[in-house]
């Protein structure tokens, strides 16, 4: 069916039959899929068809977008009651179908709090504001009808009546800032592209989410693909573009599949392609699968990759909004930025500005991972305090550990100490503290994380991903990595820290692209806040117990309750002691691997300096 006028389409939307009275949703986010969500879905469908054949088609268990709390997956939600179940097993399928799907009663034992089956007071969800993720848990991402039932394409319909200029001014006035990392005002990009001379114009979506520890874009592309497509259609309408591409990371095959299917559906209904809804507006959209290169997340490298070349950035003396893809005016935004556009066009810029902080309107999806109790995706108003995210949403550090640092902004971001936990998460406060917002990755580190090792890890990543075009990044990172490796392997020397700072500043000042310039951030921010640890490494000591051979383990006899958890994990058999009695470490046998430190939940095992001669 192809709609030839907006009226036809409107009529179709209002005549849609309501969805099934009660639906079970199996979370289809990356974490739950990894924990067997697909098998669970099959089991639920199977049970549903067995128990009541008359209504089985109404009682579908459908995969939905990410429910967020990945740590407790696979998760199941029930609409309209809103029950949320955690760690659901295949054996639970029958009970869920009989109790919840048919009778509408909660299965309390699967709820985090049996008294609160809808998890409305769950600390993970309470501080969140779910706008971009509003459809997650409510729709089947592949279903066009589900999208329409949840106000989908209302923004495009109103856009076609208010005209491209009004769409543009709503976005410009909203103050939306790019969600891909830089926080550049979207309105300025849109204006430049709108005013640029040249045809055809392109709109691009950046779905090349390469930051390790980040999966918000993946969840968005897999959880609500139509919202990205609608956002891009609105963008193309406002700036006068006729072609668009979504560049998706090679490692995300499901994202590619879902976006392709959604584009095909939109084309079939006349919402993409030539003469959209009979208005004479043409917009063709396709998906490009990346080749597995981190640097392709950089705007000019991404365009080079679409053109079929190596993804190397270029110097931006000519901005890509004027001459970008194939030398034509090009508007590139992150997929999350695009998903904001339908909301802004539909509800207006004033509404949008009320959310978040001054100069930082709207929400941002964060992926909260690392050494924290509850990992997952959380959508917070911009300007939320880091502590809220780490301690309330994430539940703080794991038992027996203490918080040490929070890393934001992906590999080119920086580490903040606990003293910075009361900073607001927005595009202006984080750079002042020496890190960046980036695309929203937030990695929590505890006392067992060594900050020199963390800097080494990120520098290795960036060194391997350097495209090799400019010298400071290509060679500078190599040298920085070698020094960091020396520090972590006991070859540290006095003065290494200062040398690293000099080198890192050199890279920051002279690299060609944004990724190269920010590649020094991990080193600079860790030295800025954790210099003591660097100095200790120069002397051959790692307090975190992460760098092998750079520490001794001692067990505090007062704190050790004799649980014995450390004994079986020791590969050298260096830990001795009787049942329920404090353990001791035989120094001469200890390899310094740190396995016992990880195993101890009572803070009894700790590190101390090696004494010369031992």
């Amino acid at each position: 069916m192809r709609f030839s006028t907006p009226q036809d389409f409107n009529q179709y939307i209002s005549s849609l039959p309501p969805s099934a009275a009660r639906r079970l949703w199996v979370c289809g986010g990356p974490g739950c899929l990894a924990q067997g969500a697909e098998k669970l879905l099959l089991a639920l469908r199977n049970e549903a068809s067995k128990t009541n054949k008359d209504v089985s088609c109404q009682l579908l268990a459908v995969p939905t977008g990410c429910l967020g709390l990945c740590e407790r997956g696979p998760m199941v939600a029930c609409q309209p009651e809103g029950y949320v179940y955690e760690k659901v097993k295949i054996e639970d399928a029958q009970e869920i179908v009989v109790e919840t799907l048919i009778s509408g009663r909660p299965v309390s034992r699967l709820c985090q709090d049996p008294k609160d089956p809808t998890a409305s007071n769950h600390p993970f969800y309470l501080p969140q504001k779910r706008l971009i993720m509003r459809r997650f848990g409510r729709i089947n991402p592949d279903s066009f009808e589900d999208y329409l039932r949840t106000s989908g394409y209302e923004a495009l319909l109103s856009a076609l009546s208010i005209g491209p200029l009004e769409v543009f001014s709503r976005v410009e006035n909203s103050g939306l800032r790019g969600r891909g990392g830089g926080g550049f005002p979207a309105g300025r990009k849109w204006r430049a592209c709108k005013d640029a001379i040249g045809a055809p114009k392109y709109v691009l979506a950046n779905g090349d989410e390469g930051d390790p520890g980040a999966f918000m874009n993946r969840s968005l592309m897999e959880g609500d693909p139509f919202s990205i497509i609608e956002g891009m259609t609105l963008g193309a309408y406002a700036v006068g573009a006729s072609m668009g591409y979504i560049y998706v990371r090679h490692e995300y095959p499901l994202s590619v599949e879902r976006l392709k299917l959604a584009i095909k559906t939109a084309e079939n209904f006349g919402l993409l392609g030539d003469d959209i809804l009979g208005t004479g507006f043409n917009f063709n959209l396709s998906v490009i699968e990346g080749g597995g290169a981190f640097v392709c997340g950089e705007s000019t490298a991404l365009m080079a990759s679409i053109e079929g070349r190596e993804g190397q950035p270029r110097v931006k003396y000519v901005r890509s909004v004027e001459r970008g893809l194939w030398e034509k005016p090009t508007l590139l935004q992150n997929v999350e930025s695009w998903a904001n556009i339908p909301l802004i066009v539909q509800h207006g810029s004033e509404w949008f500005k009320q959310i978040g902080a001054p100069n930082n309107p709207g929400t941002k999806i964060f992926s909260l991972v690392g050494q924290v109790k509850r990992s997952g995706l959380a959508e917070m108003p911009l300007g939320s305090i880091i502590r809220t995210l780490v301690e309330d949403v994430g539940g703080g550090p794991q038992k027996g550990r203490t918080l040490k640092a929070v890393q934001t902004g992906g590999p080119s971001g920086g580490c903040l100490p606990t003293s910075a936990l009361d900073l607001p998460l927005d595009f202006d406060s984080l750079p002042e503290a020496g890190t960046i917002m980036g695309s929203g990755g937030l990695i929590v580190m505890d006392n067992l994380s060594c900050m020199v090792d963390v800097a080494r890890y990120f520098t290795l990543f960036l060194k391997n991903e350097s495209c090799g075009k400019c010298l400071p990044c290509r060679e500078g990172l190599e040298v920085a990595f070698n020094i960091l490796d020396d520090l972590c392997c006991g070859r540290g020397q006095t003065g290494h820290s200062d040398l690293l700072v000099n080198l890192a500043q050199g890279i920051q000042d002279s690299a060609l692209c944004g990724l190269g310039q920010s590649a020094a951030n991990p080193v600079l921010s860790t030295i800025r806040y954790f210099r003591e640890e660097y100095l200790e490494h120069e002397e051959g000591f790692c307090r975190a117990g992460r760098c092998q051979g750079l520490f001794l383990v001692k067990i505090d006899r007062d704190k050790c309750n004799g649980c014995g958890a450390c004994q079986p994990v020791c590969p050298a058999g260096a830990i001795t002691g009787r049942e329920r009695e404090p353990r001791t470490v035989k120094v001469e046998k200890c390899l310094g691997c740190g396995a016992c430190l990880t195993a101890c939940r009572f803070r009894a095992a700790s590190t101390e300096r090696k004494v010369a001669g031992v």
């Binding site: 990894a34 990945c70 590999p411 890890y457 991903e465």
Partner: protein
């Protein structure tokens, strides 16, 4: 190093490449299609791509060499991939790599002599809550330990 495949099937190559329009922008999609079929880029296939797109062989090689998703040497039939994302690193990915290297008798990035097993790493699979993660032929296994890894083999 480029590898010739003795029993290279040119017909099959046509089947893969014919549906893709022969324009230079489709260089990466073409190479990805070849990689998907042969699990690496045979030299003959790369030459064929250069001919079809009327571009220098050097450019095909440059692109093939640049992207991680493309390989110039054959990959194992069964591929173990250890995620090296930040969350996985913090939760012990390096020791998983060490135990897989030991168990498979190959080092990271290699393929066993019989072509059966390959060991690779990936920067992040976006399944961080399940860290550390290992995939076997794309199937994700979360919360891995050295012991669970040996069970996978």
């Amino acid at each position: 190093m480029l590898v010739n495949t003795p029993d290279f099937d040119k017909l099959a190559l046509g089947e893969i490449l014919d549906p893709i329009e022969s324009q230079p922008a489709n260089l990466l999609p073409m190479l990805q299609a070849i990689e998907g079929r042969y699990r690496y880029l045979p030299k003959e296939a790369m030459v064929e791509v250069a001919l079809r797109l009327k571009i220098p062989k050097s450019r095909v090689f440059a692109v093939a060499n640049f992207y991680k998703a493309l390989s110039l040497t054959p990959k194992g039939e069964r591929i173990f991939t250890v995620c090296q994302g930040t969350a996985c690193h913090l939760r012990g990915a390096p020791s998983l790599i060490a135990s897989l290297e030991k168990a498979l008798g190959i080092s990271l990035g290699q393929c066993s002599k019989d072509g059966r097993n390959g060991l690779e790493s990936v920067n992040c699979l976006g399944a961080c809550a399940m860290a550390p993660v290992v995939t076997v032929d794309g199937e994700v296994h979360g919360a891995m330990t050295a012991k669970k890894v040996s069970e996978l083999i």
